[in-house]
């Protein structure tokens, strides 16, 4: 493989990594699995002076999951591990679905959940569900640790709120709300193993027959993952019938900002987003119902 020349650092601790980023300054790139960073370097879209790899940091790949403590996924935990994790599959099936729906087996065996978020692709498969579940990031910087909600983290294609010398160390998801369900649906022209052309992650929480809370996030239909607040409002406090969900889907597609590109036209994205939103909402509702 031909790569432009850069120095590689493999720090053993997060503090060391943060220190290195500060020392190197401009031109340093943090790398977890490398499935985005290395490809972009090879395509000469990215020419870092130095790459700071996180995989040697012990314990950073941990996953902890429980109904009371919620979910915490370390920065170097693999998508394959997230997808296969029993606890995640039971408590957060939407997160497992999104991880499993990312790229292919080989990529999932290398790539990380945190990397997928920090790469900030508008089509990132793992963002919508995590946003729908109110995920929070733990970030380490020169000034110590800070936590921030995932919502608002994405600033544009490839751009996040992260400062150059900061590292995301973990993703935290609060315990699932009672009688709630999540789902993630996405599609592209080719069935499997493809970059998402339209995706939607939803969370629905029920109280009695009515919807108590709804969060809907859309991917690949704008510069960042987008929230569909109007569609959410159409559901909250209402009985989530199929008809209402279809209407919410249509509203959600109105809230998206899709563009025409080689993966799909804006028209198609809008039309299909409505369908996917409805289907994801139905799946989330059925899951919530199962929890009783």
């Amino acid at each position: 493989m031909t790569l432009s020349k850069f120095d590689y650092y493999g720090p053993k601790t997060v503090a060391e990594a943060v220190g290195l980023l500060g020392e190197i300054g401009e031109g340093a790139k943090v790398m977890a699995g490398g499935t985005d960073v290395l490809v972009r370097i090879r395509h000469r879209m990215l020419k870092p002076r130095a790459v700071v790899g996180l995989k040697r940091i012990e314990g950073l790949n941990g996953i902890s999951c429980g109904p009371k403590r919620g979910l915490s996924v370390g920065a170097t935990a693999l998508l394959a591990d997230v997808a296969a994790h029993r606890g995640i599959r039971r408590l957060y099936p939407g997160i497992a679905e999104a991880a499993l729906g990312t790229a292919n087996v080989q990529v999932r065996n290398m790539a990380t959940l945190a990397g997928n978020l920090c790469n900030a692709s508008p089509a990132a498969d793992n963002a919508p569900t995590l946003l729908a579940l109110n995920a929070e990031l733990t970030i380490q910087g020169p000034g110590g640790e800070r936590k921030r909600p995932l919502e608002g983290f994405f600033k544009g294609p490839g751009v996040t709120d992260l400062a150059p010398e900061e590292v995301v160390t973990a993703i935290f998801v609060p315990p699932p709300a009672e009688r709630s369900g999540t789902a993630y649906l996405h599609l592209s022209a080719r069935g499997k193993h493809d970059c998402t052309a339209v995706g939607v992650g939803v969370m629905l929480a029920m109280a009695g027959r009515k919807c108590r809370d709804a969060r809907i996030f859309i991917s690949a239909c704008g510069p960042t993952p987008l929230r569909a607040p109007q569609a959410e409002q159409m559901l909250i406090g209402q009985v989530p019938t199929d008809k209402r969900m279809a209407e919410a889907g249509v509203r959600a597609s109105g809230e998206a900002l899709p563009i025409c590109d080689i993966r799909a036209s804006a028209d198609y994205r809008c039309r299909v987003l409505g369908v996917l939103t409805r289907r994801a909402l139905q799946a989330a509702r059925d899951r919530a119902a199962k929890k009783g």
Partner: protein, 756 residues
């Protein structure tokens, strides 16, 4: 009864399979020579421009750079595969005066490593004067359009006409006439091994070139003419090749540059393309605009067809002239058209050149023909398979002035495909969202037209027999993954009554194997290369039969046989000896002169197209999500006639590969070109089907005996690139009411075109 054949018709694993699967196979890019330099190409960023000035001085001064060349350094000899018609040769190895597409090769750098070469490219300054450009056939044919090549002021580089019967009269005698326009898109051959070439110049100035090619002989000849050298001062060797599909059958600029720069520097030079280069600038299947008018009698009998095709050729001819020719021939295949007229025009546009790609004009031409057949069937109220059977070609049919069909299992293929798939029941009972459709093909087993103007036989083989019971087969035929080394060995083993383990093969080395072989394309190798092997083997046998006959003082009426490692009298097997003993004896009679025979095949008196046609029918079943337009292919059934099946396992592999490519062509693959720039330059956005996307399939080989083919064999695997798109399109129509006349079938098109 004893099987007619010992090894023909048996599953024999391909020669290269284990090596490729385990990574042991060394491809050109795996090779390293001492002192080797790495080459990179500077390409035009503009679709059409005059080159004012090129300044390479800064690049030359970069440490590690050993050689920088532009068109001005070269002999400036144009090349192209249609040597018989020198005016069609329109390409220079490096641009001279003008560039004609984004990616046109302008300069080359050889340096100590790839990074240095890439850095040097950035230091080359080229001053261009941009010219107006055209990106589709309509724009290229407009009166005001700029001419890409001086020799073709209209931008039509070549045309082809076919006509027999009286088409106008045919239409007036028809009860039902329909006229449709179809468009098809550009797709990439997508071979797994990007092009790679490594050149070595010896102390006498001779060149050895290892290159990822389908056609070592063509590369050797054209390299000689572009370098101003003699053919046999150049040796071309084809190592393991990871697929070609038509995209590696011409001389290419990096082959020239590697050889030229190796001579200039005295050091080996290697070029390997990246996937982006392959997708953006590589050869592709022709986009086309097809207008077709057909006339039928009320009962479904075909009366006439008028076909006009514009091929979007891109900036150079490449294999476009052959594709133009073949489109017209395939337009007249499969069914009996008493009146037929074809006009094909190959049009220059400012895009990466299209060329040969699995099917060579057939997938495009047959998509239109087969879709139109399905539309006509619906309007005539006849089942699409019934309509085909009614008009199907049969053995002995003649295409006036073109060819006689010497073997044809088309009707049986249709019947078998219908039976396997449960056609009648599904056609009637499927609910909305589920559909089944049919598409058919015919294909050539090699071409008979000598556009390359070879002075040698089309195929050749040498067989050396040894007293230890082994033989050595030498042939220039090129195995690029299709399995010809294995199949040629099988043919030889069968003829000589030996096992696969008794045969060593040396293939595709122009200095070591007999002159010549036109290469791997047009599904020619089994029939033609196989014919040459059979011819050589029979000469060896004659020699051995004489020897054994004399040894046992046999009556001259005895038939002799080579089988199970023995040579003997057929009626009296005890009068015989082992193959090795027979060779030893023959050699003794020749006073030590080794037993060597050469065999040849050149088609003669076989019409204008091919010695033999394959046929087949395919049925596709799909499910369409009517809300998203996503098509999921449930199953494919194929029945095909490839004559005698030499290696069922290899035929099955060809079939699966064809379906894979056919589904991509129908549903997901498309090179998206905007203003001459290919936008999807990775496999992420150039969407080939993956293993997980592949549907299950069932297939049946309809065995016929092709008199011209070795053991009755003919083409398998290239023709199968054609039926999938029309079959899937018809299935989608059956499921949704959306009729695709504009490939590929995308979810968007389905949603827009779906009947409520």
């Amino acid at each position: 009864m004893e099987d007619r054949y010992s090894i023909i018709g048996k599953d024999v694993p391909r020669n290269d399979a284990v090596a490729k699967a385990t990574g042991a196979a060394a491809y050109t890019d795996d090779m390293k020579l001492p002192g080797m330099l790495h080459g990179k190409l500077l390409r035009s960023p503009l679709p059409h421009a005059r080159i004012r000035r090129i300044d390479t001085s800064r690049a030359e001064r970069l440490p590690g750079v050993k050689c920088v060349i532009t068109g001005e350094d070269t002999p400036k000899v144009k090349y192209g595969n249609w040597r018989l018609f020198p005016t069609t040769q329109d390409e220079y190895p490096l641009a001279v005066d003008k560039v004609r597409f984004i990616g046109d090769e302008v300069a080359a750098v050889a340096a100590v490593d790839v990074d240095t070469a890439l850095e040097a490219l950035e230091l080359i300054r080229v001053e261009y004067e941009e010219l107006p450009a055209v990106f589709d056939v309509d724009a290229a044919l407009a009166k005001t359009a700029p001419a890409l090549h001086e020799a073709s002021p209209t931008n039509i580089s070549i045309d082809r006409k076919i006509s027999y019967g009286d088409v106008e009269r045919g239409f007036s005698a028809s009860d039902y006439v329909r006229e449709d326009t179809f468009t098809v898109h550009a797709v990439s051959p997508g071979y797994m091994e990007p092009c790679s070439s490594l050149a070595l110049c010896d102390l006498d100035g001779r060149i050895t070139l290892w290159t990822s090619t389908q056609t070592p002989y063509i590369v050797q000849c054209l390299l000689a003419s572009t370098l101003g050298m003699r053919e046999n001062d150049i040796r071309v060797i084809k190592p393991f090749v990871g697929g070609g599909f038509g995209g590696k059958m011409e001389l290419r600029p990096w082959e020239f540059c590697a050889a030229f720069m190796a001579r200039r520097t005295g050091r080996p030079v290697k070029f390997t393309l990246t996937r982006q280069e392959e997708l953006c600038y590589g050869r592709r299947r022709h986009p086309m605009k097809l207008w077709s008018k057909v006339g039928f009698k009320k009962d479904g009998t075909l009366v006439a067809k008028d076909l006009k095709i514009l091929l979007d050729g891109g900036a150079y001819n490449a294999m476009g002239p052959t594709a133009t020719f073949l489109c017209g021939n395939f337009g007249a295949m499969l069914y009996r058209y008493p009146n037929y007229r074809f006009l094909g025009e190959h049009v220059y546009t400012n895009k990466a050149p299209a060329s040969a790609m699995r099917g060579f004009g057939a997938p495009q031409s047959l998509f239109a023909a087969e879709t139109q057949m399905n539309m006509a069937a619906e309007e005539l109220g006849i089942d699409p398979i019934e309509l085909r059977i009614k008009n199907a070609m049969v053995t002995g049919d003649e295409i006036p002035g073109v060819a006689t069909i010497s073997s044809c299992g088309f009707i049986e293929s249709l019947q078998e495909a219908a039976k396997m798939s449960g056609w009648k029941r599904k056609r009637k009972n499927f609910k909305a969202g589920r559909g089944i459709g049919v598409g058919c093909y015919s294909f050539i087993s090699g071409g008979v037209f000598n556009w390359f103007n070879t002075q040698y036989p089309f195929s050749a083989a040498e067989v050396r027999a040894f007293a230890d019971g082994t033989v050595h087969l030498l042939t220039m035929a090129s195995d690029i993954g299709q399995g010809s080394d294995t199949v040629l060995k099988q043919i030889l083993a069968e003829e000589l009554g030996l096992g696969m383990e008794d045969i060593r093969i040396t293939s595709a080395d122009t200095a070591m194997t007999p002159q010549a072989d036109l290469g791997t394309w047009g599904s020619r190798v089994t029939l033609m290369g196989g014919g040459a092997v059979q011819n050589a083997a029979r000469k060896i046998k004659e020699e051995l039969f004489g020897t054994v006959s004399a040894r046992f003082d046999l009556n001259v009426i005895f038939e002799m046989e080579c089988r199970n490692g023995r040579v003997y009298a057929k009626g009296k097997p005890e009068r015989g000896m082992t193959f090795g003993e027979a060779v030893a004896l023959a050699q003794k009679a020749r006073r030590g002169e080794p037993l060597v025979a050469r065999g040849y095949y050149t088609p003669r008196d076989k019409g204008l197209v091919t010695p033999a046609f394959s046929f087949g029918a395919q049925v596709a079943e799909v499910e369409v999500d009517r809300e998203t337009g996503i098509v999921s292919v449930k199953k494919m059934w194929t029945a095909h006639d490839c004559g005698t099946v030499i290696n069922p396992m290899a035929v099955e592999g060809q079939l699966e590969g064809s379906i894979h490519m056919g589904l991509g062509y129908a549903l997901s693959e498309e090179l998206q070109v905007e203003n001459g720039r290919t936008m999807n330059n990775t496999f992420l956005d150039y969407k080939m089907f993956t293993a997980e996307d592949m549907p299950p399939g069932e297939s049946v080989c309809i065995e016929t005996y092709e008199p011209e083919g070795p053991m009755g064999a003919k083409e398998a695997g290239e023709g199968l690139a054609s039926p999938t798109a029309p079959a899937v399109a018809e299935a989608v129509y059956h499921a949704t009411g959306y009729r695709c006349k504009d490939l590929p079938i995308t979810p968007e098109k389905i949603l827009k075109g779906m009947k409520k």
